[in-house]
């Protein structure tokens, strides 16, 4: 790389690049995102493959590996020039398609285009995608467009124009004034105007000053600064150079979080290239301006993002914050006592644009008090998550619904958490509030570094507050005790509330502690740690109260409130919940049903979300207790309890309901029935009138496996095995069969037809019916999903093997139990008949006739059943006072007739 020795050199280099057509919009170019998330999705392999394929195909096209393009969720993302097609989720094997369709054929690859749903027209270009439509990019202006490891790209796209302008035509004071006039507010947290901070530093009396960029992005779920450092490092360098020029500093330090190895790599490359080309170092561009930048890696402490702690860390001390004053900008405040100007990465990245285009241009976007844009990391329960840069003054609704695409599953919005662990939760009523630094502060939250976590009705607000507080608690440096001990105490109270042991007064205690910590902590961490709790109490107090008073968590998140149950009547044993459960809490009982082991269940609701039938229900917890009258101290419950919840006292055994997991083991083991429970079955989610409580089911006779039981009961009444099977199958089809698996649904239908053929000895009934039944039975045993199906198969197969002879007899028309109506006849035994005429009166089918004989007197009237008309309904048998109506098998009748 040739060194640039003057401003003119830079100018002519830029002109040369323009002539050569570097990054010219009309050339064929593939931009592949190689940000951290896309890398995890194999984008580097895609790049290799594309490079190889482009070479072999002979097409002239440039491949650029860019930084994060924003829509990480759909990575790897690829944009193609000159058309501007936007592809998402591009696998390496799609590279040939891209080359042959788009590069050669100038057509899009249809299935790689983004579409919201299958029925919708795909979006061809970035500007058609709702996620990008409302965005306005200043800080991220080059992200996704250039190769971050190539300074030439940055220069070609207009980079280093601002420093060129400043060095050529502006005094340091003019640069400072421009930033001040633009009212650029710090993007790292508090929103302090950068121009004023610069001025402070400039005016403090010291020969040497230091420019520091704070890249210790520690908020969980925020990655704006990372994207800039990874995707456009030179704009950060240029911003720092402008600051150094304005305040008269010669040394710069970028403090980068150690979890960002890629950012460190890209920044080092950028610094090296800038030094080589003469944009950093001594006598920059021949103007006499000296500036060097070095990188300091953090070592994994969140508190080091705080300005004074960061200084301690740079100096090589423990990362303890220091009392202010002296402020960083004053003598004695910065590293080794030199005044320092510390700004956030995004703040610096905005500066070149302001200097190049002027403060007036910058003031046109955003609101009066917060001009410009802000980058947010949109995460949580929105459809499109990722990095968005929007003008200040946009409403939350626009961000969440227009850009984010709304809530996942179109659930109900609950709140949005801004500002990371130091921020607060904003409820629905403020969705239409135009957001900037001041409006957010007014409603109790902060802009913070730009984390934005969207919560829906499935998130418990207390749980979220607990999550953020526990983060701050574990990150407290421990220097001041309100922060160290106070956050721990608050966390314990929250722990108590969410585990169902909250007490009256806990909310007030939280508020008191929170305010105390806020007022007496040294640094921003302690001062803001209680914020998530305090704002949620302010806006969602009733949810806290529900947890404490009603022991009820409306989002069903908090463990210890509510209990998950598997309703065996609905479950068809697809095992999805078993696969989903991270704790292996879903088990199969000895009798083949699934149940949730309450001891293992952590109420993560993975099964609840995955069950296709809604068989998992959330219910209020029962309370188990021991009836002292019945208990005879056999200790079996103590032995069986896995969590040691049963305690021995001087007056007997008691169950400690705080420890008890309500698994029902003791209930099942107690011989005396001394263990009882209160208040089971109030449904919290999924309305259903039926109560099921596995574990307790045998004793309580709760209708869990009743359907099959009932069938067995009915079947027992029959004697003929064929009738037994027919009844079973018919009732199974009527009742418990769900019809989901073929061996069961088709099998039982076929079995029913075959059995009917056998009992009625229909035409064609024969040996093959019996064989077919056997196959059906074994198929069902093997292939039915649920126990009900398998049991039915088993029943059929058992009865077939035990009474095969009887089935065969039916084929020749004999039912030895005389139950199969087609093989039997009703006959009046003349010896018993007293000729009362009852049967004649009762028969609905007029099948009984009285035949008077002419030669005999009237009392010799002869009663007879017309076999053709008789339906064997059995009515006459019920009314015959002497039992003269007999059932005989047809075959015997024939024999009878013969004799």
């Amino acid at each position: 790389m040739q060194k640039l020795n003057s401003l003119d050199d830079l100018k002519s280099l830029r002109e040369k690049l323009l002539k050569e057509g570097v990054l010219a919009p009309n050339k064929k170019r593939i931009r592949v995102c190689c940000g951290t998330a896309c890398r995890a999705n194999n984008s580097l392999k895609l790049v290799d493959k594309l490079k190889k394929d482009v070479q072999t195909s002979g097409v002239e096209a440039e491949i650029i590996t860019t930084g994060c393009q924003g829509l990480c969720q759909l990575g790897p993302v690829v944009t193609i020039q000159p058309q501007g097609y936007f592809y998402h989720k591009v696998k390496p094997e799609r590279s040939e398609d891209i080359i042959s369709f788009t590069l050669k054929g100038e057509r899009p690859v249809w299935d790689l285009l983004f579409r919201r749903s299958l029925g919708e027209k795909p979006a061809y270009f970035i500007k058609d995608i709702p996620f990008y439509r409302k965005q306005l990019r200043i800080a991220l202006r080059n992200n996704g467009r250039i190769d971050p490891e190539n300074i030439i790209h940055y220069i070609a796209i207009g980079g280093y124009k601002a420093i060129e302008k400043a060095l050529a035509s502006m005094t340091p004071q003019q640069v400072l004034d421009e930033v001040k006039r633009a009212n650029l507010r710090g993007r790292g947290g508090a929103g302090f105007p950068a121009g004023i901070k610069w001025e402070h530093t400039k005016n403090s009396f010291s020969a040497e000053k230091i420019v520091i960029a704070n890249g210790d992005e520690g908020d969980p779920g925020a990655f704006m600064d990372r994207s800039i450092m990874e995707g456009d490092p030179h704009s950060l360098l240029e911003g720092m150079m402008l600051c150094a020029y304005a305040i008269g500093a010669h040394h710069g330090i970028i403090y980068v979080r150690h979890e960002y190895p890629l950012a460190v790599k890209h920044l080092s490359t950028a610094i090296k290239q800038a030094e080589e080309i003469g944009l950093l170092g001594e006598n920059i561009l021949g103007t006499g301006f000296n500036f060097t930048i070095q990188i300091r890696e953090g070592a994994g402490a969140f508190v080091c993002g705080e300005a004074t702690a960061l200084v301690s860390s740079i100096e090589g001390e423990r990362g303890f914050p220091r009392p202010r004053p002296p402020r960083l900008s004053e003598k004695g405040g910065g590293p080794w006592g030199y005044p320092a100007n510390l700004n956030n990465i995004e703040t610096y990245a905005c500066v070149p644009a302001i200097i190049e285009k002027g403060a007036t241009w910058f003031l046109k976007t955003g609101t009066a008090n917060s001009p410009g844009t802000k980058v947010f990391a949109l995460t949580g329960k929105v459809k499109n998550t990722g990095l968005v840069e929007v003008p200040m003054g946009i409403t939350l609704r626009e961000i969440i619904y227009d850009i984010g695409g709304g809530i996942i599953g179109d659930k109900k919005f609950k709140a949005v958490q801004t500002g990371g662990p130091s921020g607060g939760c904003i409820p629905e009523k403020y969705l239409d509030l135009p957001i900037d630094f001041d409006s957010l502060t007014k409603i109790g939250s902060i802009m913070g570094s730009g984390g934005m976590v969207v919560l829906d009705e499935d998130n418990c607000i207390v749980d979220v507050a607990k999550f953020f507080l526990s983060f701050c608690q574990s990150e407290s440096c421990g220097k001041c005790y309100p922060c160290r001990v106070g956050t721990f105490q608050m966390l314990q109270i929250l722990e108590k509330i969410t585990s169902g042991n909250g007490e009256e007064g806990d909310i007030e205690r939280l508020e008191e502690l929170g305010n105390y910590i806020k007022s007496s902590s040294l640094c921003g961490l302690g001062k803001s740690a209680p914020n998530p709790v305090l704002t949620t109490i302010k806006y969602f107090r009733e949810e806290y109260e529900e947890h404490i008073k009603n022991k009820y968590c409306r989002a069903f998140v908090c463990q210890g409130l509510g209990q998950l149950h598997l309703n065996t009547d609905i479950c068809y044993q697809c095992k999805r919940c078993m696969d989903a459960c991270p704790f292996e809490a879903i088990k199969e009982s000895a009798d083949g049903f699934f149940y949730i082991d309450q001891v293992l269940c952590q109420r993560c609701k993975a099964c609840f979300n995955v069950c296709p039938l809604g068989a998992i229900e959330i219910k209020e917890q029962p309370i188990l207790y021991i009836d002292k009258e019945l208990c005879y101290f056999c200790r079996s419950c103590i032995n069986v309890c896995r969590v040691d919840a049963i305690k021995e006292t001087s007056t007997g055994f008691i169950i400690d309901s705080n420890i008890c997991k309500k698994c029902g083991d003791c209930f099942n083991v107690c011989q005396m029935g001394a263990i009882k429970y209160e208040k089971i079955g109030k449904f919290l989610k999924i309305a259903s009138s039926e109560i099921s409580y596995e574990g307790l089911k045998e004793k309580e006779q709760i209708p869990v496996d009743i359907p099959l039981d009932e069938i067995f009961h009915d079947v027992e009444k029959k004697a003929c095995p064929v009738q037994k099977s027919l009844t079973f199958i018919e009732e199974f089809i009527e009742g418990p069969m769900c019809g989901r698996c073929y061996p069961c649904s088709f099998g039982t239908e076929e079995a029913k037809l075959r059995l009917l053929r056998i009992t009625q000895k229909l035409e064609g009934a024969g040996e093959e019916d019996i064989n077919a039944l056997k196959t059906i039975a074994s198929n069902m045993i093997e292939a039915s999903f649920c126990k009900k199906g398998r049991d039915t198969g088993r029943f059929l197969s058992e009865i077939l093997s035990s009474s095969e002879e009887e089935f065969r007899l039916h084929l020749s028309g004999i039912c030895s139990n005389r139950e199969c109506i087609t093989s039997i006849s009703y006959l009046i035994n003349p010896d018993l008949c007293i000729r009362c005429g009852e049967c004649l009166k009762k028969c609905k089918f007029e099948a009984i006739m009285a035949k008077a004989s002419e030669s005999k007197p009237a009392e010799y009237t002869y009663f007879e059943i017309k076999q053709k008309v008789c339906t064997r309904c059995g009515e006459c048998i019920k009314y015959c006072p002497t039992g003269a109506i007999e059932i005989i098998s047809k075959v015997k009748e024939e024999m009878f007739a013969k004799t």
């Binding site: 995890a40 070095q294 953090g298 402490a301 860390s313 090589g316 080794w336």
Partner: protein
């Protein structure tokens, strides 16, 4: 790393021109510790001893700094550093199962190193790739979406690979 041969001036960089020798020595401490850990996988005591005489800092001072930061480790680390994400998103998608499988497979508990120093198993909060949950990192390389059983075998193979 040869602690004796470390040059303060090249370690501290250009800003060293503003500092006296004592400040320089302090200033490079964290940077050196990072290099030591990078090289050895942990901070061995004997190197801290050398460091202490080189930088004229007491050993307790060095340990007090090193123990403040989460990244430093004082016991040897395996060749493969496997971190299973137990952040919220990953936890609910079954990262505990991943952890259990790895624990059984390599016969070590989370936080431990296998006796042949081939693998160290750790857990982390969130690595920022929640969309790909459950996530595990192997020597800083992110492996995502380890839900199906086939994938976990792939992960094990990946860890085993030299």
């Amino acid at each position: 790393m040869d602690i004796e041969a470390v040059s303060e001036n090249s370690q501290i960089g250009s800003i060293g021109s503003l500092l006296n020798s004592k400040q320089k020595k302090r200033g490079i401490l964290i940077h050196l510790l990072q290099q030591i850990q990078e090289e050895n996988g942990y901070i061995p005591e004997e190197i801290v001893k050398k460091l202490s005489s080189k930088l004229s800092l007491s050993m307790s001072e060095i340990f007090s700094v090193a123990s403040f930061y989460k990244m430093f480790r004082f016991t040897p680390r395996g060749k493969k550093l496997v971190k299973v994400c137990l952040g919220t998103a990953c936890y609910v998608r079954g990262s505990k199962k991943v952890l259990n499988t790895l624990e059984n497979e390599f016969q070590i508990k989370s936080g431990e190193t296998s006796s042949d120093l081939s693998i160290t198993l750790e857990t982390v909060g969130c690595v920022g790739c929640c969309g790909l949950a459950p996530v595990t990192t192997v020597n800083d390389e992110v492996v995502g979406d380890i839900t199906s059983s086939g994938k976990i075998e792939g992960l094990i193979k990946f860890i085993r690979k030299n």
